[in-house]
């Protein structure tokens, strides 16, 4: 959990100004924003774990919770991969390099990186779910020697919705990552797999006793992916899932993000699957 809110601001609702330092168009609807918190001491104190999120604030429009896409090892800048889904995200998409936005955070519980170290990893992303997972993937990449086998399964509806393709295309040729991409609706250029991510489980070989799983994607995807992981013999308490819920504060007060008896903002968004099994309406 972040020490920021206490040390650096008496008001955890008050966003910090941050400057957009670069914008990259990923798809028609998604852009990758790199941002830098303007205040030096706040920026330095802004330490986060993969899977945590920030509240992005555009005054006059509102706030939206967004996962941090960059790895904690990247210092001084954070990256947000944002889909234009409504008011705040739409207004962010209209911003330009150099514009100032507001950020609060980091909030929530991320992936247990320390605990995962020394193990194999199976990361499964669907659609925009790659945003928080990318932070974890990059973090693993930066600490590659601490991990065993790393397998990444990533599915999207169609090729144009595959995010970070430039990076994955590079990685496909590396032998320290097993990366499989799939789409539901391929086009002529598509040379990878076709079908749901769950189909890819037949193609991979993992050591279930030594593998940690991480899943992030649209709500419908979880049950099926977890089933496959369980079929492979993975333990429920080694699987981590990240949930998206409506949020208005990010700090366990507004009540919107209730999942079962927990709050996605402070008890999650990353939950251990064994815990999540006991959360009503979670999966």
């Amino acid at each position: 959990m972040s020490p920021l809110s206490r040390e650096f601001t008496a008001n955890p609702y008050r966003p910090w100004p941050a400057r957009i330092t670069s914008i990259m168009d990923l798809t028609e609807n998604e852009k990758l924003f790199e941002m830098r918190i303007i205040d030096d001491s706040v920026r330095e104190a802004f330490q986060f774990a993969s899977g945590q999120f920030v509240e992005l604030s555009l005054f006059g429009v509102g706030e939206a919770p967004i996962s941090i896409s960059s790895a904690p090892s990247k210092q001084g800048f954070i990256e947000l991969c944002v889909r234009n889904a409504g008011d705040v995200t739409g207004a962010l998409h209209k911003k330009q390099c150099g514009d100032i936005v507001g950020l609060r955070g980091p909030f929530g519980r991320g992936f247990p990186f320390k605990e995962m170290k020394g193990h194999d990893m199976l990361l499964v992303a669907g659609g925009l779910g790659i945003a928080p997972l990318k932070s974890l993937i990059n973090h693993i990449h930066d600490d590659r020697h601490d991990f065993g086998k790393v397998t990444i399964l990533y599915g999207a509806k169609n090729p144009s919705e595959i995010l970070f393709r430039y990076q994955f295309d590079m990685w496909k040729h590396r032998d320290d990552f097993e990366l499989i991409l799939t789409v539901d609706e391929p086009d002529d250029t598509w040379g990878d797999e076709v079908g749901r991510v769950t189909r890819l489980f037949d193609m991979i070989d993992i050591d279930p006793t030594n593998t940690y799983g991480a899943i992030c994607g649209p709500p419908v995807m979880y049950r099926f992916v977890i089933d496959e992981m369980r079929k492979k013999g993975m333990d429920a308490d080694k699987i981590y899932v990240s949930f998206e819920r409506r949020m208005k504060c990010g700090i366990g007060k507004c009540g919107h993000c209730g999942v079962g008896h927990q709050y996605a903002c402070i008890d999650g968004p990353v939950f251990n699957y064994w815990e999540a099994m006991n959360l009503q309406e979670a999966i």
């Binding site: 006059g60 429009v61 409504g86 008011d87 739409g90 207004a91």
Partner: protein
């Protein structure tokens, strides 16, 4: 370039346009953000060929209105329907209960009176064209209107509330009319007016229309328990909402 705005009135009492002029404190500020290209009530001149936002008041009661709306829809990038007339049909739509000819005869007498201006059964503009924003109410609430206009200028989504009135009524610490043995339509009416009438001692008459979240079936049952028949409730609810299907069943 500031957004070009036109204000158009169809069949109505102009009450919502008057209400728009009633934001004196803010009027000049708002005008600073827009280019007011046309407002028949306030200015000479003709409706321009091009504009960005159209604020439309009133119900549709003639073929000319339909044609005008279609033109507006083709031109404006955002249309704001203001007032019960435009959003639900409001009071003008009361004329849709019974035949239009009978209404006409009642007012203008039998015999072959020339029908001026042509006529069709009154309906809200939302039954003729799609609109981006709706500000319901008879008349519109000025605060809500300024917020919606502001959202339209910013290109944000419609923020029309979906819940019934009771929550805000509770926060205002009104004593519920049902505790006083009176019928209040707040429990099925779209919130957003700050429960204005109720707070001033008058039960809600439903001018903002049926709330999406409302549980009409339950309301009918529990009013029946209190001695208010389904038909009575429906008749009351139709005052501003004759065209609301849920109230005609």
């Amino acid at each position: 370039m500031p957004p070009r705005v036109v204000v158009v009135g169809l069949a109505s009492d102009f009450g919502c346009q008057v209400q728009m002029t009633n934001i004196e404190d803010q009027l000049l500020d708002v005008l600073g953000r827009i280019e007011l290209s046309y407002w028949q009530l306030a200015s000479s001149g003709h409706m321009p060929e091009e504009y960005d936002v159209a604020i439309v008041e009133g119900a549709v009661t003639t073929g000319e209105h339909v044609a005008l709306l279609e033109r507006i829809r083709a031109t404006a990038s955002a249309v704001i329907a203001i007032g019960a007339c435009a959003v639900t049909g409001g009071i003008p739509a009361l004329a849709t209960s019974g035949s239009l000819d009978d209404h006409y005869a009642c007012v203008y007498g039998e015999g072959d009176v020339e029908v001026a201006c042509g006529r069709i059964a009154p309906m809200p503009i939302t039954s003729v064209i799609d609109v981006e924003y709706r500000v319901p109410g008879c008349p519109i609430d000025m605060d809500e209107f300024t917020q919606v206009l502001s959202r339209a200028l910013q290109g944000l989504s419609d923020c029309i509330p979906r819940e019934p009135m009771c929550a805000i009524c509770k926060t205002l610490e009104n004593i519920c009319f049902y505790e006083r043995g009176e019928v209040c339509l707040g429990l099925i009416t779209r919130t957003g007016c700050n429960a204005r009438c109720i707070t001033l001692g008058r039960p809600c008459t439903g001018c903002r229309g049926l709330a999406e979240d409302a549980n009409l079936e339950s309301a009918i049952l529990l009013l029946a328990e209190r001695g208010v028949s389904r038909e009575d409730l429906m008749t009351r609810a139709r005052l501003y909402n004759t065209l609301e299907e849920a109230f005609t069943r």
